[in-house]
C-alpha cells in the first residue's frame, strides 16, 4: 500500500529504506554530525496547519531512528532543511537533484554547518535516493 508523504508512516518506512541502501551506508559512514530534519512547510491543501519535520537520527552510515513531528519540536536536529511541499515532492520523487534544488533556492538550509553538508553531498544524494524505493503517494497528484 502506498504511504502518504509526508506522514509518520512514511518517515518510519524511510528509515528502513535508508538502512537498506548500501550506497548510503558507504557514503555516510563518517557522518557523526547529528540529526537531520527535513521540514515541509505548512500547507492547507495537505491538511497541515504547522510546519512538519521528518527528523532522521543519522550516525555512521545508518539511520538509528526517525520521527515525524512539528518543526518547532525538532530542536535537537543539527541540520534543518526547509522547503515547500511541491519542492520536496520533486526531490523525493527523483525529479530534481537535491544540490540543484539548493542552488535554485528550492531547498534551504535553515540550520547547520554548510561545509559539512557539502562534504557529505554524496551521502545526502543517497539519502534522498532511498525514498525512491518506497511506494509513495504524493497528495495533490
Amino acid at each position: 500500500m502506498a504511504l502518504k508523504f509526508p506522514s509518520a508512516e512514511w518517515t518510519a518506512a524511510f528509515k528502513d529504506a535508508v538502512n537498506a541502501n548500501a550506497a548510503y551506508g558507504s557514503a555516510g559512514k563518517d557522518w557523526t554530525h547529528g540529526k537531520v530534519a527535513y521540514v515541509v512547510k505548512a500547507d492547507p491543501k495537505l491538511g497541515t496547519d504547522a510546519d512538519m519535520a521528518m527528523v532522521l537520527d543519522l550516525h555512521e552510515g545508518s539511520c538509528r531512528g526517525a520521527a515525524y513531528v512539528r518543526a518547532d519540536e525538532a530542536t535537537d536536529a543539527a541540520f534543518v532543511i526547509v522547503a515547500e511541499y511541491p519542492r520536496w515532492r520533486e526531490v523525493m520523487s527523483g525529479q530534481v537533484d537535491p544540490t540543484k534544488a539548493m542552488m535554485q533556492n528550492k531547498l534551504k538550509l535553515q540550520k547547520g554547518h554548510l561545509p559539512t553538508i557539502v562534504k557529505f553531498v554524496v551521502a545526502s544524494k543517497e539519502l534522498v535516493k532511498s525514498a525512491l524505493a518506497l511506494d509513495t503517494q504524493y497528495p495533490l497528484d
Binding site: K100, M103, Q104, N105, L109, L114, P115, V118, K119, V121
Partner: protein, 139 residues
Amino acid sequence: MAAIDLAPGADENGLAMMLATLMAQNLEDHPERLGVFGRLRGRVAILAEDADVALTLEFQRGRVVVHDGVVGIPDLTLRGEAEPIGDMSRMESWGPFPDPRGEVNRAMWKALREKRLRVFGLPRALPLLLGMGDVLAVH
C-alpha cells in the same frame, strides 16, 4: 574578519547564498585562509546552466560582494552543469594545487573534457581560480 556582502537580489539566489555561507563558515573554521582571501581581487562569474542560476563573486582584497547574475566583465567565468560546479568545493588539494589522484578532481577533469564544465579566463586568472578554490574548499 572577512567581509562577505550580498548585493540586492542575491539573497533570492540559492547558489549565491550557498557560496556566501560556505565562504563565511570556511573562513571562520580556517582563519589561516584569510591571507589568501585578502589577496583575491577580480570578478568570477559562475553559471549553473541546467539549474538556470548565475552569480558573480566580486573579490576586493579582503571583501567579496556576491551578486545575482553576471555583473560587470568577469576575469574568470565558470559555466556548465550544476553537479561539477557544486563539486568545486570538494576538490582534493595537493599543496596549493588540485590533487590529480583525487576522485572528485578526476570527475572534474572528465566534466572539463566532456565540456559539461567550461572555464574562461585562463591562464591569466589562474591565481584567482586557485585562491577561490582554497577559500571554498571544504577539506
